[in-house]
Amino acid sequence: MGSALALNPAVLALVAGMAVVTYATKAGGLWLVGRVDLSERAEAGLDVLPGAVVVAFVAPALANGGVPEWIAAAATVAVARRTGNLLLSLAVGVGTVLAVRGIV
């Protein structure tokens, strides 16, 4: 249990940094709006940022994968589009990757 309760100073510093940055983003929008006029151009960029982060994160993982990962990716996206249900999408994705790996 000692290791379960271990608190590494480096990890604590990381967690503190993450907490501060995250709170700053959560409170920052409330604080900023009305004080700063974002250009429409900047808003358009911010608008697309979350999707861009997700795509940038996932692209190399897919490129480095093989046929099972690609088929499972297609299945995951199809279920996500149809149902919007995260857990179901994850289950189908993982199930598909396992099934296809068993075949290929």
Binding site: L30, G45, P50, G51, L87, L88
Partner: protein
């Protein structure tokens, strides 16, 4: 997370109209009576419970990955309690597992969380009637899911300013519990690939992407983000591809934006 994904994104794309309302298209008197009460906390808590249960599934996944990244139960639990940002926490522990420097991890977390700026801004029409303590205390509990619930509730005419806090509290509690369960159970799992768990993160982000997709206008920035991420991944060490790819995707939208 689960069922509200699409509504979250719909609410996000509704941001402009919300801001428009803030600018004056809705009489401010209608929002002047926003209250901050225990009843509001309770209503948020109860309404948010089913969504929080869905988020807990995601929390278990985070816990498993945090454990694999070398975090202890206490460390992962503390992260979930103080950070409360699903996607950012997942990316952080994945980067951390690859020995990426903490400064880079925190910077990436900031970029992944930039969308919270927009979520907070959308709350302004109601929250400006609350005390700073109530407003800035509540926003700590902002997550995509309970924010979407809150905006939907407030726009439907509720005056419960404490709804975000209540729905956030239930989500926060289950998020911490799920994290602890995930880290603990992760030790028993063995080789994750054996269960296809190595694909969970990819599936998670694909699901997020499906929710964030806004049709044709997403196509070009996403292709640029993906392409630049692939090139960056090939030439730069670590996980710089996330930041470089994402900024390239957002940048191309800014450059091509024509008023």
């Amino acid at each position: 997370m689960a069922e509200t994904d699409s509504s979250t994104e719909r609410a996000t794309t509704d941001r402009d109209s919300t801001d428009g309302a803030a600018a004056g298209s809705t009489p401010s008197s209608e929002r002047g009576d926003v209250t901050f009460t225990l009843a509001g906390v309770r209503e948020g808590f109860v309404t948010g419970l089913p969504v929080a249960v869905g988020v807990a599934g995601y929390g278990v996944v985070f816990g498993v990955l945090a454990g694999r990244a070398g975090l202890s139960v206490a460390e992962a639990g503390l992260m979930s309690a103080t950070v409360l940002a699903g996607a950012a926490q997942l990316i952080a522990v994945e980067l951390w597992a690859d020995s990426v420097p903490a400064v880079t991890v925190v910077a990436t977390v900031g970029i992944v969380n930039l969308r919270y700026l927009l979520l907070g801004a959308a709350l302004r029409p109601w929250f400006r009637h609350l005390s700073p303590r109530a407003a800035y205390g509540s926003v700590f509990f902002t997550a995509d899911e309970n924010w979407a619930l809150t905006i939907a509730t407030l726009r439907a005419g509720s005056r419960q300013g404490a709804f975000l806090l209540g729905s956030g509290l239930v989500l926060w509690l289950l998020w911490i519990v799920a994290t602890v369960v995930g880290v603990t159970a992760g030790d028993l799992v063995g080789d994750p690939a054996q269960y296809g768990l190595d694909f969970v993160v990819t599936a998670l982000f694909l699901t997020l992407a499906a929710g964030l997709w806004e049709g044709r206008e997403s196509l070009r920035p996403w292709l640029v983000a993906a392409g630049v991420a692939l090139v960056t991944n090939a030439v730069l060490p670590g996980e710089w591809y996330v930041i470089v790819g994402a900024l390239a995707g957002a940048g191309v939208r800014m450059v091509t934006h024509d008023g």
